[in-house]
């Protein structure tokens, strides 16, 4: 009897469950809503029995056998909205739509992926469409303003140079502040390996083809980044390249071409204004010298007339020279040197062809790309040719393996940095009365007060060629359905050659000067880790990883400089009769790491995560070689609770909290040791002490707290993320100033602390859906940096602005005399004293904090519109509350104190008693208001129409025989800017990448304004 009942029960259960579905298997086809094409590789699982799942094949077809209790099928595909469809038919065709709500999007994390909904850390993601087909050299430019909390600044409009990236502020004063870059799981070389004596840092990320990138994830808080331990304090940028997609092979061809010009130009004096202002300046100088017995010429003057005559005579003598014998008195020449420094038209173009396809066993993505971009400066250019093959192979159900192969060659025709007399940017210092061509010689003029940069442009080149191989291979073995072992090995080989020649007419090189420098970097990494994913019952889910990693970087550089070339036709060092410099240099570092993470999810709504990394680094002192970096976080999806699940308007609500520790180790190697370096006195090679020992040297440690509120409203048409963070950095790696009477200027110690606190808001809205679509993405972040403790010392910047790190202030404040304008009675420049009164004695002026280079807010807003086949977007990027210091002001905006051509605002100088102006009386050589002060400090806030694109997709019917889809577009970059910075482009930083010296303009190149025309074809 008992047995009969059991059988009966089983039959009831069996037939009872069948009664819902009435089918034993389902088949159908999955297609893409965008283009109607089949979508292979879509995962289809039975919701009630997650282990029962299949994937759609190359034609988008699938067939799934249903277990007894199957009621719903779940269709999942990366980047598409998940669909849940009740099983009520034997044929179910599904159209997948792109996911714009982002809650279910897959986010790449350290050593794995997660669904955004389940994240407990703060991660910003930028997708391929925001990165591709842009006239930029590297992807960082393309993510500028796109991710909250990620501040990107190009520094100047030169092509191929380093880019400042700050994730949630600056966490260090002396060590690096750039994030860690990881491509497909392998940390890569991202800092410049170039010649830094007369050149800006080069950018190793420019070697990577942005079009190969599928997504960029920025790990912002410790919960997300502590898995990268000792290198994570500045954030981690994970770059994931495109993977092969199962199905018919699809080709994609992209091309664009365009032209660039300076987005902003400065205004300088023309010849008439120059001559007038300088004559006035010389007359005033004579009067002033006589009245005050200055004796600048070394002797007293008998009368004011004699003094004026002497000064004016000196001026005219020099003008006669500058003008190369042309009749400057009648303004025979009026050269616009700024125009001479720019190309009349800078062109750019990019070709890209890629293919993706494969079957269940093997999938591939391959691409070839050629990018050719001219900078706006004469001679400045960047080209890159690259190829990629990403291959994934499933050998068995359990074993899969694959490779990512990437090779590139980039060539950067560079110009010297802003500090060099030879850089095109400094040509604006030449007087307008100087002709470009000296009529007496028929050659480029050399008669000005400074070197004529056109000679450098004509007779010199400096070419940086980089061969880059960023590749990795992996094998993955599934021991058990829930346990996977992955091991991967990646290399980043960077071979850089800098080849330069300066002809015999260039400054300082009477017999030519050849220069060849090479840098060879091998950076390799192994990662091996176990991955565990298992549901325990219906409510418990555990995902965990644990593994280890080893990374080593070997760098060797060498350089040879030679002179004595028989003629400028010989440019290689083989033809140099004198080798004037030769050097080779090597350094290496190693990092041994163990890491683990566990994510536990209860009832799909309570989320917990723990992660940690244990790093050992060759960089640190014997006493502190290993560091431990743990993090913990939790999240709660309130919208899944019964009290909110019925809400009409609230579709999603999650809170998250996290706290953890990360480190910063980006300092030079071997800084913990007492070392003697080599000196090279002729015939007496010797030793010089270079540093004293600090065996206690260790990482900078950042404890960071992150709290976030993520929400979706109105059926997720409006989604957002509001985050607060508080990062406390201790044990700063500080070059502590010591009295140089000790023979040393600084000692590297772990001293001091700083903090970054901030708020970030990201909003994403589908304003209009239907035939006319309009969506908006907006982000804004506020970071407040404050240096809390530097052991009582002041760390001075080394750039062109009066910047420093001071306790109680943000890093890099401007500290100098505060300019108080002009004494309306005598035209003297005035400065503030401590009590707020003014003085004309610069040395008596009170030095104080007068400005801050750090922005208060930054962000961006994108509006996308589409109607039928047209698409249109506007992307505005903004920065607010920062100051810019024009370091060249002491030369170019200084009331005609020296020969440099002046910005035209100097015409507003004081002339007569009673004049109200900020520009002092022009008094040649008398240093009236020429001293470093807040005179050249301006508000650097700006909003800029960074990109705008209008595109048209040619209807499929018209191109069907040729292409599966075709789109043409026109894009503009830096089209329109509003800024209070009057002297040039507000996106400016002459030192390019620096901790303290930011926001300084020093003859710095403006950003380019670029228009491109492009086409995307699929076939």
């Amino acid at each position: 009897m008992k047995r009969k009942i059991t059988i009966l029960l089983l039959l009831v259960i069996f037939f009872g469950s069948r009664a819902f579905g009435q089918v034993s298997s389902v088949s159908g086809k999955v297609t893409d809503a965008r283009d109607g094409l089949p979508l292979p590789g879509v995962s289809i699982v039975v919701q009630e029995v997650p282990s029962a799942g299949v994937q759609s094949d190359g034609s988008g077809n699938y067939r799934i056998n249903l277990p007894a209790n199957a009621r719903n099928l779940v269709f999942k595909y990366i980047g598409y909205q998940q669909k849940v469809i009740p099983v009520n038919s034997e044929v179910i065709n599904v159209v997948m739509e792109e996911d714009t709500k982002q809650l279910s999007e897959v986010v790449v994390v350290g050593y794995g992926t997660q669904i955004r909904e389940n994240l407990t850390g703060s991660i910003a993601k930028v997708n391929a469409k925001d990165i591709q087909d842009q006239p930029v050299q590297s992807f960082e430019s393309a993510i500028q303003g796109k991710a909250a909390g990620v501040f990107v600044s190009s520094g100047s409009g030169k092509v191929g140079q380093g880019i400042t990236v700050r994730v949630r502020g600056s966490s260090s004063v002396t060590a690096g502040n750039q994030p860690l870059y990881v491509i497909d799981g392998i940390p890569v070389t991202s800092a410049s390996l170039g010649d830094d004596v007369n050149f800006d840092p080069s950018n190793p990320m420019a070697d990577i083809n942005p079009n190969d990138i599928e997504s960029v994830e920025v790990l912002k808080d410790a919960s997300a980044s502590a898995i990268y331990g000792s290198r994570a304090s500045n954030g981690v940028i994970l770059i994931t390249t495109r993977k092969g997609r199962q199905g018919k092979t699809e080709f994609n061809f992209s091309y664009f071409t365009g032209v660039s010009e300076p987005a902003v130009k400065r205004k300088f004096l023309n010849s008439a204004q120059y001559v007038e202002l300088y004559n006035e300046s010389a007359v005033n100088a004579g009067k002033y010298d006589f009245a005050n017995d200055i004796q600048l010429f070394g002797f007293p003057f008998a009368s004011e007339e004699e003094a004026i005559d002497t000064y004016v005579g000196y001026l005219e003598e020099n003008f006669d020279a500058f003008s190369a014998g042309t009749d400057w008195r009648n303004l025979a020449v009026n050269t616009d040197w700024q125009d001479e420094s720019f190309r009349s038209s800078a062109s750019n173009s990019q070709y890209e062809i890629s293919a993706t396809g494969g079957n269940e066993k093997t999938r591939f993505f391959t691409s070839g790309s050629f990018s050719d971009q001219e900078g706006i400066y004469i001679k400045n250019a960047f080209t890159r040719i690259s190829g990629r093959l990403n291959l994934d192979h499933s050998a068995t159900d359990k074993l899969s393996l694959g490779v990512n192969l990437y090779l590139s060659k980039s060539v950067n025709d560079r110009v010297t940095d802003d500090n060099a007399f030879s850089t095109p940017g400094q040509m604006v210092a030449l007087p307008p009365i100087q002709p470009v061509i000296d009529p007496s010689t028929g050659r480029l003029s050399t008669t000005g007060p400074y070197y004529n940069g056109l000679i450098e442009a004509r007779d010199a080149f400096f070419k940086t060629t980089v061969y880059r191989n960023v590749s990795s291979a992996y094998a993955s073995y599934k021991f058990l359905p829930y346990l996977n072992l992955r091991t991967e090995f990646g290399v980043d080989i960077l071979n850089q050659a800098e080849d330069g020649y300066q002809g015999r007419e260039t400054q300082g090189n009477p017999s030519g000067n050849g220069n060849y420098r090479s840098a060879n970097s091998l950076n390799y990494t192994t990662n091996t880790f176990l991955n565990f994913v298992k549901d325990f019952g219906l409510r418990h889910n555990l995902e965990a990883i644990a593994g280890f990693s080893f990374q080593k970087q070997d760098l060797k550089t060498s350089q040879v400089v030679g002179e004595g070339f028989p003629s400028d036709d010989f440019k290689n060092l083989a033809s140099a009769s004198d080798i004037t410099f030769g050097s080779s240099f090597g350094t290496d570092e190693a990092l041994v790491s163990y890491f683990a993470r566990a994510n536990y999810r209860f009832n799909d709504r309570y989320l917990f995560a723990l992660s940690a990394r244990y790093d050992g680094s060759s960089k640190f002192g014997a006493n502190n070689r290993y560091g431990f970096f743990p993090a913990a976080s939790a999240g709660w999806i309130l919208s899944k609770e019964s009290f909110l699940s019925d809400s009409e308007w609230l579709s999603f609500l999650k809170v998250r909290l996290g706290y953890g520790f990360t480190g910063n180790s980006s300092i030079l190697d071997h800084q913990s040791l007492a070392l003697f370096g080599a000196s090279t006195y002729p015939n007496l090679p010797g030793y010089v002490p270079t540093q004293v020992a600090n065996p206690d040297l260790k990482w900078e440690k950042t404890g960071s707290f992150d709290a976030g509120l993520e929400f979706g409203l109105f059926n997720n048409r409006l989604t957002g993320d509001l985050s607060y963070y508080n990062k406390q950095t201790e044990d700063l790696l500080l070059n502590v100033n010591v009295p140089s009477t000790s023979g040393f200027a600084t000692v590297l110690k772990n001293v001091g602390s700083l903090e970054n606190t901030g708020l970030e808001l990201t909003l994403s809205s589908q304003n209009l859906v239907g035939a006319f679509k309009w969506n908006t993405d907006f982000n804004i972040s506020r970071n407040k940096n404050k240096i809390k403790d530097l052991g009582g010392q002041v760390i001075l910047g080394t750039g062109r602005g009066p910047q420093r790190a001071i306790e109680g202030y943000p890093i890099g404040v401007f500290f100098t005399a505060k300019y108080a304008g002009v004494d309306s009675q005598n035209g003297d420049a005035l400065y503030y004293l401590e009590d707020g009164t003014t003085t004309n004695d610069y040395n008596a002026a009170f030095r104080q904090v007068v400005g801050d280079a750090n922005p208060e807010f930054s962000g961006g807003i994108t509006n996308n519109f589409s109607f039928k086949n047209f698409d249109l977007n506007f992307f505005f990027q903004f920065v607010s509350g920062n100051d810019i210091y024009n370091g060249a002001g002491i030369y170019q905006s200084v009331n005609a104190d020296f020969w440099d051509n002046q910005t035209s605002d100097q015409l507003g100088r004081w002339q007569n008693p009673g004049d109200i102006t900020d520009i002092p009386q022009a008094r040649f050589l008398m240093s009236n208001g020429t001293r470093t002060s807040s005179r050249w400090l301006s508000d650097g806030s700006y909003i800029r129409l960074k990109t705008s694109t209008i595109g048209y997709t040619i209807p499929g019917s018209k191109v069907k025989n040729l292409f599966s889809s075709a789109r043409v577009y026109v894009s503009g970059y830096n089209l329109w800017t509003i800024s209070d910075y009057a002297n040039g482009d507000p996106e400016v930083n002459t030192t390019t990448i620096s901790n303290i010296d930011n926001g300084v303009d020093f003859y710095t190149a403006p950003q380019p304004r670029t228009i491109t025309f492009g086409v995307n074809l699929k076939f």
Binding site: F581, P682, P689
Partner: protein, 466 residues
């Protein structure tokens, strides 16, 4: 079960491989440097360290060398000439740290004041290290090495005391209690307890004389070019005594150099400059070659002085008035040319036109003029009469002999002979001449104590006027 064991074994093996990676951390060693203990443990290591001091006083500290010149490679000369400039030259360059010195309106953050200070004390620390480790040096060279260390320390202190403090006044033995510079004569081994105070001028002078006197007795009579000798020490002593107004000792030390017969005047004055190696007249000179030099692009003595095609930036224009100090037919008047390179057209000094040539610091010619001056002032004739010494120098430049009956004649001859060699500053200070309306002890005729040094060391006191 067996397969699980195998798998676990594989995982353990992999972990073991990583454990062995720990050793990789220890394998990473510096490739361009050696440990400081290693450096000073051997005789050759200490000697190499001494050679590092020559490099530092010539070209500065590698780590801080930037766009400005340093010490004996450039600033000994250029800064001295700019401070003492009463119209002999015009600084037409754009480098504000030099322009401000020339215009006597430098500030406490002047880059040259910072550079020279740091380089000087770096060199002094090297010398202190050598002195402290002298016992490991091989006996046969020990005296020479110790002598060189003390020599470099002394001449570097003399650079500091003349640029950062008010000059010696009141003759030998006078209590010169005005603030000098901190005396540091022991090596720095850690980053602690480094806040020193300024010693008085007389204390610094006493140390310099002690070091140079010791060096003179320890050093060899001759050494390869560039290294200190007994007579280089004597020559610098003569400068110290001259600065103190100790005429007896100034004449005697200069006389020792002259009568050593190790040096002789080059036949024509022009041959004393732009040489690839020491001339017969050089008592002490900074060595340069194509690879190691005071600077060829942005800074350096030749960059500042010269204006030839491709050489120099012509930042120092010689005024036409300067030529008025020469008599007709004076060969030294021909040591000028009209620039043809950068900023062409102005008068330039021919003494500094070869970028990789040695830089004479003490020439034998100076010793004759020092002996003449000291003898004349003291009414003595150690070695020779003032007239004979002056006429010996005049004759080389094709001038007829004169009779010396005024100190001004000796000083004028000295200005002509040593023009644009950095001597003007010492001359102005010693003879208490005005510079462009400023008295010799004007606060703006010396460097400030660098602002960064005041920030790092609360015990230091700034010079008045800054």
């Amino acid at each position: 079960m067996k397969t699980y064991l195998k798998k676990a074994g594989a995982v353990l093996a992999a972990l073991f491989l990583t454990a062995s990676c720990d050793k990789e951390l220890d394998k990473v060693k510096p490739q361009q440097s050696i440990d400081s203990d290693v450096a000073l443990q051997t005789s050759s290591g200490v000697i190499n360290t001494l050679f590092g001091a020559y490099s530092t006083i010539a070209y500065g500290v590698t780590a801080t060398a930037g766009t400005l010149g340093t010490l004996f490679g450039t600033n000994y000369n250029v800064i001295g000439e700019l401070f003492a400039n009463s119209g002999d030259l015009n600084w037409s360059g754009s480098f504000a740290p030099y322009r401000d010195i020339n215009n006597k309106n430098a500030t406490a953050t002047n880059g040259n004041a910072a550079n020279d200070w740091a380089a000087a004390y770096n060199a002094i620390n090297i010398c202190n290290n050598v002195e402290a480790s002298i016992d490991v040096v091989e006996p046969d060279v020990k005296d020479q090495i110790l002598g060189e260390a003390r020599f470099i320390r002394a001449i570097t202190y003399f650079e500091l005391i003349r640029f950062y403090a008010q000059p010696w006044t009141g003759g030998p033995g006078a209590a010169n209690t005005q603030l000098g510079v901190p005396l540091v004569i022991t090596p720095t081994t850690s980053g602690e307890n480094l806040d020193v105070s300024r010693n008085t001028v007389s204390e610094v002078y006493a140390q310099i004389i002690t070091d140079l006197t010791s060096a003179e007795s320890l050093l060899n009579e001759t050494m390869p070019d560039g290294r200190a000798t007994k007579y280089a020490a004597a020559a610098f002593l003569s400068r110290i005594y001259l600065a103190q107004g100790d005429w007896q000792n100034a004449a005697a030390t200069a006389d020792r150099v002259i009568t050593s017969a190790k040096y002789s005047l080059v036949p024509e004055i022009g041959q004393a400059f732009n040489n690839p190696a020491n001339s017969v007249e050089d008592v002490f000179a900074i060595q340069q070659n194509a690879q190691s030099n005071a600077g060829t692009t942005n800074s350096g003595i030749v960059t500042f002085y010269a204006s030839l095609p491709g050489i120099g930036r012509g930042d120092i224009d010689i005024s036409d008035n300067h030529l008025l100090i020469y008599e007709a037919g004076d060969a030294r008047k021909d040591l000028f040319y009209v620039g043809t390179g950068d900023k062409p057209g102005s008068l330039r000094s021919s003494k500094w036109v070869e970028r990789f040539a040695i830089i004479p610091i003490v020439r034998l010619g100076e010793m004759y003029l020092t002996r003449a001056e000291a003898n004349f002032r003291n009414g003595q004739s150690i070695g020779a009469t003032p007239s004979d010494d002056v006429n010996f120098i005049r004759a080389r430049s094709h001038l007829a002999p004169i009779t010396i009956n005024s100190i001004d004649q000796v000083l004028l001859e000295r200005r002509r002979e040593l023009a644009f060699e950095g001597d003007s500053y010492n001359l102005v200070k010693r003879t208490q001449q005005n510079v462009g309306g400023r008295p010799y002890n004007d606060p703006k005729l010396i460097y400030p104590i660098p602002q960064f040094e005041l920030d790092a060391n609360p015990n230091l006191v700034q010079n008045p006027g800054y």
